[in-house]
Amino acid sequence: MEEKIISLMREIASESGAELNANIVRDTVLLESGLDSLGFAILIARLEEELGYDPFTMMEEPVYPQTFGELVDIYQRFAA
C-alpha cells in the first residue's frame, strides 16, 4: 500500500511539475511532501480508481491525515 501511494504521488507530482520530497517516510507531513492540496485530492481520486474505494467517504468519524503514515493507516483500515 505504501509503495502504491508513493508511486502515485510521484506520478502526480511529475504531471503537475512539482517536486516530491525524495524521502517520504511515515512521519512526513503530507502538506510538506511536495503535493499541494489539489495534488492530494487527485491522489485520493486516483487511489479510488485503482483500489475501488475512497475511505474518506466511508469513515464514521472523519479524520483528515496530517502525516503520510496516518494516510496509509486510513487506507489499510478500509481495505476489504
Binding site: 504531471e15 503537475s16 502538506l31 485530492a41 487527485i42 485520493i44 481520486a45 472523519p62
Partner: protein
Amino acid sequence: MSTLTLESVLRQLPPARPCLIGTAGCVTVGQTLEVAHALRANWSQVNGGRIALCGLPPGELIPALIALDGFAKELLLLPASTDAGTSENLMAQAGVTHILEAGTKHCRAVNDGCFEQTKGEPTRWLLATSGTTGAPKLIAHRLATLTRTVHRDPVRGADFVWGLLYDPARFAGLQVVLQALFSGSALVLSERVEFDSQVTALMRYPVNALSATPTLWRKLLMDGRISNLVLRQLTLGGETADQAILDALKARFPAARIVHIYASTEAGTGFAVQDGRAGFPSDWLNDTTRNPALRVSAHGHLLIKASLMPQGAEINARLNSEGYLDTQDLVRLEGDRVLFMGRASGAINVGGNKVNPEWLESYLRGIEGVLDARVFAKSSSMMGQLVAAEIMATEGAELKSLRQHILQCCRSELESWQTPALITFVNALKETAAGKRERLST
C-alpha cells in the same frame, strides 16, 4: 433616514475598538476612519466617479472602501487574480472613470467620461461573477444587499476576532470583511495570500472566528495548527459542504457554532444552515414566511426570492414571473433534507474555483492528437469536485505520450484546477438522448 454607508456603520462603534490587525499591529476603528478620511481628502476629484479597485491587498482595500462608499457612484472590485484582459473588459463594461491600484493611493483618471457628484445616493458595488468561460459578468449590489444577512451586534461583536482567508474583492471575502466591520469585530489580515502565511497570521493574533471553503477547511485540518485555536464560529461557504467535513469540524471544535452558508454573487447571501447537517431542511421549501423564500423548479433548480436582490439586466433575465431567481443550482430531496447536486450548466467547482466544461472541451480539442473530448465533474471527498476528461484520440495516436502532451499543454496554459485530474481514453463519447453531451457528475 440617512444612507447606510460603511462610514456610518463604523461611526457607531467605540473608536478605541480594535478594527484591523496586520503585521504592523492593530489599528482601531477611530484610526481606520482617520485613514479613510485622509484618503477621501486626496480623492475629492473622484466624487461621483466610477472607480475600479484593482487587486488591492486587504489592508489597502478596506480603508479605500470606507473612503469611497457613499462618495463614489460605483465601485468595481477586481480581485488580485483577475488577468489583464478580463480587467479591461470589466472596466469597459462598468465605464470606469478612475483606477486605484495596489500601492499607489492614487485614483488615476482613465478617460474623460463625464460624471456628476453624488447626492447621498447609495454607491453601487460591482462584483464580477466567478466566470467559468473567461467572461465574468458584473452584478450590481448596494451595501444593503451585501449585508442583508450580516449580523449587526457590536456588543457580541467585541468578543470575536475574525480571520480573513479569502480575497476581500470577491463575494465570500467581502462578506467576512463586512461581518467584522458591521459587528465591530477585529479582523486579522494576512500579509500574503499563501496558505502558510495565512495560517501564521491566524495563529499570531489568535482568531476565534473563521470562514473558509470546505476544501480549505480540510487543508486546515490536515495542517493541524488550527487545532491550537479556540474557534467559536466556523463558517463554510463557496462550495457544497459535505457531511464528512461538518462532522470532522464538530469533532475538532465541539463548542463552536458551525454554519454552512449557501450564497452566490448573483443572489447575495442566500441562507445559513446551523444544524450540522449537509444540505438544508426540506420544510424550508415553499415556506413564504422565510426570507429568502425557496422553491425547486420542475427541472430541479433551486429558486430563491429575497426581499433585497441585486439589480441589473443579468438578474432580471433570470427572474420568473413571481420574482424568483433561478440559481442554476441543482438540488435533490432526500428524506427531510434538500441536498445540492452541482450546477445545472455542468460547471465544475474545484474547491471553490469554477470550470466551464464546454470551454475546456474546446480547449482540449485544439490539442494535437485530440479528436474530441468530454469534460465532467468527478466528485471528490477532498475538493468537492475534480475535472475529469474522456478523450477520443486521433487515429494512430500513442496514448501514453498523448496523455503527457495534454497534461503538458494544460500545465503551461491553464490554471492547475482547470487541468483534468483524471484522463481516460475512449472510442466514443457519451451523449444524452437529445444529442447533448452527457455531463452528470460521477
